[in-house]
Symmetry: C2
């Protein structure tokens, strides 16, 4: 990472556990005065995510801009943006991917984040994507992120860098990182549940993965105190 004293970073903040951890990672690396966040309103069925992102950013003392993306809903056909499709617990037998897969979602998020960063002189993007536990999502892999970074640098003529500090961490290690960075209190403001419930449903794949991570790290999830 080439980082000068005044480097600015933009965190893609979903309002979930991982991107919140990344926000605190960015605060630690770049300093509070140099971090801002962007959240995408892309028609996700859980509007609560947007509120969580706002609350997390406020708690952390960083700005948060919500950018709309109406295109995914127009594309249709996935369980994250189409209210008529239930979240499946099985992988799609044709594609081997979860039906929450929105093709290229993180490519779009990071490209728009780069377009937002460009006129503001921000050269560092921070994303919560991770390979571990998420191998079903090809747009979360390190190889994809490296290729996207090269594409953004070429396509916008910038030196922009993509940071994915959770890329090779297990969920338990992500929890441990959050504890070290002082991000644990903010975790009570986050949202993970695929079914959009708060307190979380505890049964969907996202809830189960989160619970496993906290259990393996031996840390109490502040969200559980809501239940």
């Amino acid at each position: 990472m080439t980082r000068t004293k005044n480097s600015k970073a933009l965190v893609v903040l979903s309002g979930g556990q991982d991107s919140t951890t990344c926000l605190y990672w960015a605060l630690d690396k770049f300093g509070a005065d140099h971090v801002s966040s962007v959240t995408f309103d892309y028609g996700q069925r859980h509007r609560i995510e947007l509120e969580c992102a706002k609350n997390v950013a406020k708690h952390a003392g960083v700005s948060n801009v919500i950018l709309p993306i109406d295109t995914f809903a127009a594309l249709g056909g996935d369980a994250l943006t189409d209210a008529e499709i239930d979240v499946a617990t099985e992988l799609n037998s044709d594609t081997g991917l979860p039906n929450t897969f929105v093709p290229g979602r993180n490519l779009i998020f990071l490209t728009f984040a780069a377009a937002f960063a460009y006129p503001r002189g921000i050269e560092h993007l921070v994303t919560g994507v991770a390979e571990t536990d998420y191998s079903g999502y090809p747009d979360c892999r390190e190889e994809t992120m490296q290729s996207l970074q090269a594409t953004l640098q070429l396509g916008m003529e910038t030196e922009i860098e993509i940071h994915a500090p959770l890329m090779h961490l297990s969920k338990a290690e992500t929890v441990e990182l959050a504890v070290r960075l002082g991000a644990l209190p903010a975790m009570s403001l986050t949202h993970t549940c695929y079914n959009g419930e708060r307190p979380p449903c505890g049964r969907c794949p996202a809830c189960e993965l989160r619970a496993k991570g906290f259990a393996a790290a031996g840390v109490m999830d502040p969200l559980d105190e809501l239940a």
Copy 2:
């Protein structure tokens, strides 16, 4: 290009001269039954482009889907989507780019086109971007397109290919290609003018470039018959 008998292609159709030529290139390469088109309604100040795209697609006998993108307008600050900014004839002295530069516009268009193509089994994207005459736009260069293709293949786990048949053609050569492909009659339906005028203003950089191309090819622009 790996092309099997039933390969399907999706043309990113703006309603302009270049993408119209690309549509006819795709018809020639893939056959009328295997070509469809997508047009982005991204808040361009010239709504006439959408109508032109529809008319060109209809004339060519291919389907046309208009996908909305409300994000660029929310980003703001460029002359193509912000009605309060005039199109400048000079390059920006800081960035060396025209003020019609929307950072990453073609990256976004092609990524959404790939997301549209993905569930439909379409493995070929066709775009009118070109290096020649457009060196101000880094998202139009071959190196960028190659990098983006790699990113899309990794991020969506597809074999999708990006074709940019005009990449190394001059404007005159593009006109000559259009003539060879039988695309000339459709040119009367296209739109080029940055000022959104029809008949075209003839004075903006886009009109001047178009006129030069037709003149150099020794071909009458069907649009001029409107004037």
